[in-house]
């Protein structure tokens, strides 16, 4: 693998910077408010004056809605990934370090999450949290998906604790904090960084699927899933309503995948 930057990783970097700009500035980047209704400009095709990506059935700017959806989806996916990462890594490490029964529990839990439909979990947990808002969706996604991390961390860390240098460090009385900081966590960084990036892409899909089904985002909010769902009624007249969010999602996911692939190649 050459050390030079591949076009894929440069592209991913551009997408990342764009994401950052959208997270900060939101729909103002498009020059429109994503909620502004203009009935004189209904279903305008892309490249219409003032509307780069066209307008929807209420004359709202598609680009502004896409950017707003990006803020929501990317923000939610980032936080959900962080939640899953924290819980999963902690549990996986604990199971690998201390414990016969924790490891067994982890296996059962993995089987449980594999067979329990995440849709039901998401609907009920969102209903329990009481509002269909950002944090309800994000918490749900994080709480439903953390076993992905614990399973991998458990497998990696288990073999790590068998290594002589780790056992030697433990025997010489190194404190647990130092042991983790110097020997355990650094060894997990390669695997975890790849996993985080791929999980982020999965979370983008999961969040959009939920809001496509009308769960999660408040009614009428401009999220990618909701836009896809609303655009279905205008598939023939105005295909840009579905193509816009579809390709926005694909670009983010492909960018995340190429970062993950690059990290994997670097650490190999």
């Amino acid at each position: 693998m050459s050390r030079s930057l591949s076009p894929a990783i440069v592209g991913a970097g551009v997408v990342g910077l764009f994401c950052l700009a959208v997270m900060i500035f939101g729909d103002t980047l498009s020059g429109h408010d994503h909620r502004a209704i203009d009935l004189s400009m209904r279903l305008a095709a892309p490249l219409a004056p003032g509307h780069l990506l066209g307008t929807d059935e209420l004359g709202r700017d598609v680009l502004a809605r896409l950017l707003n959806g990006m803020r929501w989806s990317v923000g939610s996916a980032l936080c959900a990934t962080l939640i899953a990462f924290c819980i999963g890594t902690t549990f996986g490490l604990a199971a690998a370090h201390k414990g016969a029964w924790l490891g067994g529990a982890l296996k059962l839990l993995t089987t449980f999450t594999q067979s329990f439909p995440s849709f039901v979990m998401a609907v009920t947990v969102i209903a329990l949290l009481g509002d269909s808002g950002f944090w309800a969706v994000t918490l749900t996604l994080g709480l439903v998906t953390w076993p992905v991390f614990s399973r991998v961390v458990y497998a990696e860390a288990s073999s790590l604790f068998q290594r002589e240098y780790v056992q030697a460090a433990e025997m010489t009385g190194m404190s647990v904090a130092r042991l983790y900081a110097h020997h355990v966590l650094p060894a997990l960084v390669p695997t975890l960084s790849v996993l985080v990036v791929f999980h982020f892409a999965e979370m983008i899909v999961a969040e959009s699927a939920l809001s496509f089904l009308g769960i999660g985002a408040p009614l009428g909010a401009a999220t990618w899933g909701a836009m896809l769902s609303e655009g279905r009624a205008f598939m023939l007249q105005a295909p840009w309503l579905t193509l816009g969010p579809a390709f926005a999602m694909v670009i983010i996911i492909v960018a995340a995948h190429s970062v993950g692939q690059h990290l994997r190649n670097l650490t190999r």
């Binding site: 449980f112 067979s115 439909p117 849709f119 009920t124 295909p239 579905t242 670009i251 996911i253």
Partner: protein
Amino acid sequence: MFSSSRMLGGLRDFAFVLIAAMTVLFFLLRLTGDPALVIAGEGASPAQIEAIRVEYGFDRSLIVQYGQTMLRLLQGDFGKSLTDGSPALGKVLASLPATLFLAAMALSLNLLISLPLGAWLGQKRTGAARRAVRGVLTVMQGFPGFVIALLLINLFAAGLEWLPSIGYGGPATWVLPVISVVSFLAPKLIRVVEANTHAALAADFVRTARSTGASENQVLWRHVLPNALLGAVALIGAELAFMLTGLVVIETIFAWPGIGWLLVQSTLNLDFPVVQAVVFVMVVSVFLSNAVTEAVQALLDPRIRSRARAAS
């Protein structure tokens, strides 16, 4: 071939997961909605709702109700659908064939495409054709299944009007759902077969086979491909389990009357007995598909067999 202790362990885990799933489900559903309101329907007076509560036993404590529900489940009694009064389990079993049919077709097509393509890609790292295919796969991996489904409907059903967009009738209605499922499962499987083929070609046993004078074809068919397939079995099993629980959105988009669609409908309608029956059937089918996967692995791989024998 299977040691009895392993099977007992598997059954014990299965029983635990099944009980845990039904328990979690019971409390989640009860905490989120009031079944009495669903049965009474809109516009019922408070007195009517109260009467229903007493009639169905919803006025008793949650723990007592939980115990009763689990006892009934143990006897195979899933209750009746709150929306139309038909037996809940019957409703699920009636929609199971549609899901199994979709899963079986998608699985077969996936194997037909992924195994040869992955093996072909794994043989060499260079070449314009291979690089082009890899590029297409990378982009395809970025498409979520339900987005592919929407785009396919956009193109073939709404735009060109070649195929029906929704429903479950003749072969014409099967095409789009199957392609949607395959096009997001296949890239993963192709990648795994590719990586395994590549790894097997570099393994010691291939060098040994070559040095004993085996032809390239013999090396490929006798030594490389069997090993590459072995590594793919776990992923095929995981994809099968995923199709039995995870096709919720695809089935909804195509109005495909399978258990995923039933799950969405019953969850949104707060039809608790049906949700319970769907989840029960899903847990059982994931367990069965995992068991089949393990059996196939043991059948194909002598190492797993001997490890199992050593452990018993």
